[in-house]
Subunit: 288 residues, 2 copies
């Protein structure tokens, strides 16, 4: 293809977990007819073939040599190693994309392993599941979701357009372009902090308290994401530690304000904090 | 009725806000045909009559004198004042119930204003809306929800049964009996803490960050309850300050554990915390 990209382009997905599997499902479902998959677990490849979301797992080196697009759908910490492993087999002009929820250091590591002439388009499909593995792959989670592209020096325009087209075809509603720095800053607050809060909330339960019978929808909503892929989120948190610590600090200061008002019996201060949060939450509903 | 309670019993709801209005709607909908309402705002009474959820607002003193059940659906801080105001008009054997989300001190204040012979059954319908006022009244929110009764010395068995029957008829799925102390301990963790976190989360947003376009479902879920009835929740927080401060402290310690692990780049520690939260959240799904 070189600079052309269409539904006959050959896409190789590396890592058929929940996101890689969902990519395969969404692309095949959208009419891409050369979607292939590679995974260290042969059962995942077998299953992806059986359910008809990849054409084959085939011969790994041959697949890579003819790939127009390679989507790295592995754990963040494994991505650079994977990249340097596959680099020797890739053809010039290949488009590399990824799905990691962190960007800055992650991207630098990938870039340092790219073969000459490869075009790399870092991406973050803002959707997914707490569960892991191909059993939970489901292209429906992409529908209506945000897809963020964080271009770098080795992302040429045609390659960015190709990845954006793939995203639209997979069902993403909005393709947005951000710098890696801005991306990491935003996801620390909108995604990583909520996960940290959910985990801390459920872990702070007094185990003898028999609260299970008395929870309402708000507690369920707040803790849903506490059922978490531990390995993935450990890597995401540590890979974005500066931003995450900053937003945890900001959050802690807000919580202390509430706690102080409660301690002081200061109803007016509490009402001010609640009015502020209400106004902000109402404004949020106007987005989307 | 004295000790008999059925759908012809006369129920007077004081305060036709979102909960009082929903009580009226649910009781009338369940075939209770003597449901009356009192409110300081004549428009709320008028509206309740118009939409057919109360028979009338009628003559306040006369209504109270013939009431079999009085449901106090006013703000927690107003309840004792309201109770002492209506006490002179009530008949012996009347059942008083309430809907407050806090119990200990609240109950003591009510009990001190009860007329001789009144039977008081404190209750907490664990459902509601963030919005306030009769416009948001909707009996559907009760369906499948928990209804907690916290009996005290002046709650005789027949009165507890009458209130439990009302709750079942209004659509509550589970009637549970707790001590006021245990109730306040549990709601601090399952309801008040989640509200505090949601408020602190949304209030900690950097206003210049343009995060609005990049939020996902988890952030939406976690902040939904940050749109809050400020007056009500100020009273609930301060009325349960000891328990609430304790659970905020517990939560803060858990969050600090996450923050330290991130600061130290300690992936193992993070994974341990995440595995714990995942196991707890999965166990929660088995409830309900």
């Amino acid at each position: 293809m070189d600079n052309l990209f269409d539904k006959s382009s050959k896409i190789v997905i590396i890592g058929l977990g929940v996101i890689g599997g969902s990519y395969a499902m969404a692309l095949t479902g959208a009419g891409y007819n050369h979607v292939y998959g590679i995974d260290t677990d042969p059962n995942s490849v077998e299953q992806a073939i059986t359910i008809g979301i990849i054409k084959s797992g085939g011969d790994r080196e041959k697949l890579l040599a003819s790939a127009d697009v390679v989507a790295l759908c592995v754990y963040p910490d494994d991505a650079a190693g994977c990249m340097s492993e596959i680099a020797p087999y890739l053809k010039p002009g290949v488009i590399i994309t990824d799905v990691a929820g962190i960007k800055r250091g992650y991207i630098d590591a990938i870039v340092s392993c790219l073969p000459e002439g490869a075009r790399y388009v870092p991406a973050h499909p803002m959707a997914g599941r707490e569960k892991k593995g191909i059993d939970y792959a489901d292209s429906k989670v992409f529908r209506g979701a945000n897809f963020i592209i964080t271009p770098v020096g080795v992302s040429d325009e045609a390659a960015v357009e190709a990845v954006a087209k793939m995203a639209v075809d997979m069902g993403f509603a909005r393709i947005r372009v951000l710098s890696p720095e801005k991306h990491d800053e935003i996801v620390a607050y909108t995604s990583q902090l909520p996960h940290a809060l959910a985990v801390a909330l459920i872990n702070s339960e007094d185990e003898d308290a028999e609260t299970g019978d008395y929870i309402g929808d708000s507690y369920r909503d707040l803790t849903r994401i506490a059922d978490i892929n531990a390995r993935l989120w450990g890597q995401l948190f540590i890979g974005n530690s500066d931003n995450l610590i900053k937003v945890i600090d900001d959050f802690e200061r807000q919580l202390v304000q509430i706690k102080r008002a409660v301690q002081d019996g200061d109803n007016e201060a509490l009402e001010r904090l609640f009015c502020k949060s209400s106004a902000r939450r109402s404004a949020l509903n106007e987005h989307r």
